[in-house]
């Protein structure tokens, strides 16, 4: 089965991004497809490479980046939600005249259309949120 996943709460504060990761990993390991994960609301904060959790804790961003690398999962961060919260890739930083970017490997910033498209193209859309 083809699953689309939405993450709509921020990392560490809320379990949503952990549960979504565990679900995606289990689905992929059991032969299902997870073509895309869409990060919305505070969920966009999963995609910053500047977070530094304590070493004896999981690193949520790195977990997702590794999963994306292994299974070719498209990790999409909503551009409108990202701009409000200071999540930028190199192109957006340049376009907005900002002096830095912070997007992590395996993530990309794109529009809400990617969420709708994911809903159309997958068999099930599952939201991990509050």
């Amino acid at each position: 089965m083809k699953f689309g996943i939405v993450v709509s709460e921020g990392p560490y504060t809320h379990q949503a991004s952990d549960s979504a990761y565990n679900f995606a990993k289990a689905a992929l390991e059991n032969g299902h497809e997870v073509p895309r994960v869409f990060f919305y609301h505070d969920g966009v904060n999963v995609g910053t490479r500047l977070s530094i959790p304590p070493q004896d804790e999981r690193n949520i961003q790195k977990q997702w980046s590794a999963l994306a690398g292994e299974h070719n999962v498209d990790l999409v961060i909503c551009i409108a939600a990202a701009q409000r919260r200071g999540l930028l890739d190199e192109k957006e930083a340049t376009r907005q005249g900002k002096d830095a970017n912070n997007i992590a490997e395996g993530f990309r910033i794109s529009g809400l259309g990617q969420l709708i498209e994911m809903g159309i193209q997958t068999d099930r859309l599952i939201t991990f949120g509050d």
């Binding site: 939405v6 919305y40 609301h41 409108a80 939600a81 809400l112 709708i116 498209e117 809903g119 859309l125």
Partner: protein, 136 residues
């Protein structure tokens, strides 16, 4: 994409201000309208407050986005399911909600109300018919 139309439901369960969920849900609805899907909105729990008329946000420094709901008819978003029990539990009636109309192109562009009051059981039945449910 025309041959792949799905039933999309946006579930609005939170008050319009205090958190960003309602505003960012509306942003998804607006973008989603360009995809020519079969769209419905549900308002339940505190989400019914999103449709209350006469909203004034001057005191909290946040944009009042409630007029945008009245524009959704132009994007063919014309099905607003509002749960009766949620209204009643909050001391609200249909008269407290803003008037949201759309022009029915299949009926000589007659103006019709977008808001449909449903009870909890009817809301559940409507949800069960959907292909994609996005909850906010």
């Amino acid at each position: 994409m025309e041959d792949n139309i799905k039933k999309f439901l946006y579930v609005n369960r939170k008050a319009p201000y205090g958190t960003i969920y309602a505003l960012e849900a509306l942003e998804v609805v607006l973008i989603g309208a360009a995809f020519d899907q079969d769209v419905s909105l549900a308002f339940l729990d505190d989400g019914v407050f999103q449709l209350v008329k006469g909203q004034n946000t001057d005191g909290i420094g946040v944009k009042n986005f409630s007029p945008t709901f009245r524009a959704l008819g132009d994007y063919e978003v014309t099905k607003f399911y509002v749960e009766k029990e949620s209204l009643e539990e909050r001391g609200l009636t249909a008269d407290d909600l803003q008037e949201i109309m759309y022009e029915d192109e299949d009926d000589d562009y007659a103006e019709k109300p977008s808001i449909r009051l449903v009870n909890r059981a009817e809301m559940a039945d409507m949800m069960a018919e959907q292909d994609v449910v996005l909850s906010f």
